[in-house]
């Protein structure tokens, strides 16, 4: 006798629809976040302000991570 271990997935109905709705909302947030970054960038350029050390720490790795992730794809 051998014993089988098996796996499968049912995507559901309501939970899948709810995930899709939230995905649309989060997708909108993604653009808001990008726009905010763009506006901050423009203001920095206009006023010639250099980046704060805290901004450097917070933002550069995030950008690098994004780049690394898109390279993987």
């Amino acid at each position: 006798m051998i014993i089988l271990i098996l796996a499968y997935v049912d995507p559901g109905v309501g939970a899948l629809l709810w995930q899709t709705i939230i995905a649309a909302f989060v997708g909108f947030l993604f653009y808001l976040k990008k726009t905010r970054r763009w506006i901050v960038g423009v203001f920095r350029k206009m006023f010639g302000r250099s980046q704060k050390p805290s901004d450097t720490v917070a933002e550069i790795p995030a950008k690098e991570t994004m780049k690394a992730k898109s390279d993987v794809r």
Partner: protein, 495 residues
């Protein structure tokens, strides 16, 4: 013979126990993806941390030898198997219907961690089921290495999300909010609780609480509005902006993580047995004598695998684990078992605690009863080599049965002879048993006016009943009690 076609759930392959080995049969088309995943940073790191089972591909000679086995022929015939992989063996398989909520929570945490880590390598989890996880001692290990698939980078939807909700979040919610035991959920439902099941349990106010709204109410309302034949729901919604798709998925995982954390089980203070250690009927010298007796037996016999039956808060399981044994601790009280798990994890003790009532042990479950073997099949060693034997040797070198026999004799009405026979089948060497005389206060409390049923039971009768199965190495009367400790050695052949 396989009990069912191996391809009926996962088309990429299947896994089976064979001759004490865990073999994964992978179809030819799924091999490149599987091997690519095993090379990813995620797989390497999690395997190194022992969070995914180690896996190796069998060479051609090894595979050819398996092909010759008539038992495995149907597996090879059912699909075009391209390669066979072997996984490390987890000492004692356990299933969600035997876990306390704490263990389900830990399995959920590992599943989410893996889903997030694999995302960075371009892979995704294709299912999110607690049966993908086993426990090595108290530590969760992901066993279904074939559960990973290469993701379409533009896909912002995680298909197993609903399964994660059904099999982790809703059972944890039901257990926390209504005290629903996981055994009741998972023994009757392979795929957990549907939002609609939980919706029926919720009162009007409960339905609009933020967590319930998101996990239960909105999915239920949306599901009612969706047409039963609407296939558009399942069409992939691919995005041209892959960065956006990644952002959406990362946000989903963070949200699921927060929800899972909000459902983290809290220690129950008022279960029937959880405060037993503080309220038991021994005074200090009796308890010290019992502890010394058990310690000496463990040190003398050094059992490598121990079953602590009726473990309660796990005091003696910890004692066994400290001597280097691999312990399986079973008790019917989920609160006690949860406490043992938390303690074992905190103190890094090799204890696997399970919610099992020895008088009603978990049955074999799943299709043709072949997916989850019964507790006794695992504990008596029947399932290890897959060969049924009339006199199994027991999966454990030592069994501790302390302060349990009166519950089996009185509450469950199991004959003494049968209890000893079961111990004989569970242990291949040592049995440490606490005999409780009918004159004992706890024994009398359980009999409730049925003392006559146990009038003949005494120490002599107990020792006589042991004779066919065990040799008495030594015994000790616990001072000031009607209890006696026995250290018993299994005889070669029981009747």
């Amino acid at each position: 013979m396989p009990q069912s076609a191996p391809s009926f759930r996962d088309p990429a392959g299947c896994c089976c126990f064979f001759n004490q080995r865990v073999l994964r049969f992978v179809t030819a088309s799924a091999i490149p993806e599987f091997e690519d995943f095993l090379q990813t940073n995620c797989a390497r790191q999690f395997i190194a941390r022992k969070r995914i089972v180690s896996t190796r591909r069998l060479n051609e000679n090894e595979t050819a030898a398996l092909r010759e086995s008539p038992e495995l022929q149907p597996v090879f015939d059912a699909q075009s198997i391209g390669a066979v992989f072997e996984h490390e063996r987890i000492p004692f398989p356990s299933y969600p219907h035997e876990w306390p909520p704490e263990m389900l929570w830990a399995a959920g945490r590992l599943t989410l961690e893996l889903a997030q880590a694999a995302l960075a390598d371009g892979f995704g989890l294709k299912d999110a089921n607690p049966r993908n996880v086993l426990f090595r001692g108290s530590e969760p290990v992901f066993i279904d290495a074939l559960s990973f698939e290469r993701r379409n980078p533009g896909d912002p939807i995680w298909k197993p999300h609903a399964q994660f909700v059904r099999t982790f979040l809703l059972p944890l919610l039901a257990s926390r909010r209504w005290g629903l035991p996981l055994a009741e959920i998972f023994m009757t439902r392979r795929d957990g609780l549907e939002p609609e099941d939980v919706y029926r349990l919720c009162g009007p106010l409960e339905k609009i609480k933020p967590r319930t709204l998101s996990l239960v109410s909105i999915p239920t309302w949306l599901s009612r509005r969706a047409g039963p034949d609407d296939q558009k729901i399942y069409q992939p919604h691919l995005l041209a902006n892959t960065e956006k798709a990644q952002f959406i998925l990362e946000s989903l995982f963070k949200r699921l993580e927060r929800t899972l954390d909000s459902l983290k089980p809290v220690a129950q203070k008022n279960s029937v047995w959880s405060d037993y250690m503080a309220t038991h009927s021994y005074d200090d010298p009796a308890f010290a004598a019992k502890e010394k007796f058990v310690s000496e037996a463990l040190r003398e016999f050094k059992p490598a695998r121990v079953l602590d039956a009726g473990a309660n808060t796990g005091h003696f399981s910890a004692l066994a684990a400290q001597t280097g044994a691999e312990v399986v601790a079973v008790d019917l009280d989920a609160a006690c078992v949860g406490a043992i798990w938390s303690r074992a994890r905190e103190k890094n003790l090799n204890i696997l605690p399970l919610v099992v009532n020895l008088a009603r042990p978990s049955p074999a479950l799943g299709w043709r009863n072949g997916e989850c073997p019964s507790f006794l099949d695992r504990a008596t060693g029947l399932h290890r080599d897959g060969a049924a034997s009339s006199a199994p040797a027991g999966a454990f070198d030592g069994v501790l049965m302390l302060a349990l026999i009166h519950h089996l004799l009185v509450t469950e009405r199991i004959p003494l002879e049968d209890i000893l026979r079961l111990c004989y089948e569970l242990s291949n060497w040592l049995l440490v048993m606490e005999f409780i005389d009918p004159k004992d206060e706890m024994f009398r409390r359980l009999t409730r006016g049925r003392e006559h049923l146990h009038a003949a039971l005494d120490m002599k009768m107990f020792e006589q009943a042991c004779t066919p199965y065990f040799e008495i190495v030594r015994s000790l009367a616990l001072p000031g009690t009607q209890r006696r400790m026995y250290c018993l050695k299994r005889k070669g052949d029981g009747n």
